[in-house]
Amino acid sequence: MSKNILITGVSRGLGLAVANAVIAVGWTVYGVSRTSSPEFAALASQAPERVKFLAFDLADADGVAQGIFGADFAGLQVPLHGFVNNAASAYDDLVSNLDLERLQAMYAVNVFAPMVATKHFIRNALLHGQGGSIVHVSSISAHTGYKGLAMYASAKGALEAFSKNTAREWGERGIRSNCVVPGFMETAMSGSLSDEQRKRIYSRTALKVPASLESVAATVVFLLGEGASSITGQNLFVDSGTI
């Protein structure tokens, strides 16, 4: 069966890898991102009928309902089968330097907008009665702890708790919710790390390498599909075996 999958942060990094994997299995992407990218445009030109795009900044958590779930994009007229909450904004600093405004801006993108989007995804699924699969992209930092990532990791921890409870609340309507917990990947998100920091992080994994985008993307697609129909409320670690 074909599926309509809403993906945030779709233009680059993991979001783009997920979009590629979704198109490869024959489903349709409703992609959201602040701006497009040459790579996303290339994907769209491969399968124009199955790639939709909306330029939207999730910093505007208030605008999610009208912007993303309005009649012009992924409104109630489109049966949505999956929601991949992938977009995230980084905020790295020591806790002793915590700046409330930056913290709130990061929470708007990483927590509030995804929670509002989950509300509307569930409403869509209720109307169409076909269930649905929500996949939040969390982070290994929520589990291991890294210097400088306390604020960012706290937002991912919030998502994991939200996912677990969403799963419990909506399971009887066939709506599943899971988190993928990637280890450090080579994306723009970890671009500010020095080579020394990278080496130290990778040496703390069993595989001694970064988590691969393709492996994380394949896990997301697995959780969206029928093969994962009995999996909900879980955190799946795709982290090169972080110790």
Partner: protein, 79 residues
Amino acid sequence: MKSSPSLLSVVNQVLANKRRPAVAALAPDTRLREELGFDSLDLAELTVRLEEAFGVDIFAAGVVGTAGEIEARLPPERK
């Protein structure tokens, strides 16, 4: 009071999804939870179906309990 046939049909759609028998009519004081057996998830589904039909979120202004309270929140031309 005459119930809006559309509200009735939406209520019956939610009942049908739960494999419960349809009701013939709604009185203003018909209580969705106590009399029709709606649980919170059924009310959420009803909200979405009414929003699709009428463009109004019936829970946006607080909790509703009876058919009459719902009708009061639907657009005037429906009443």
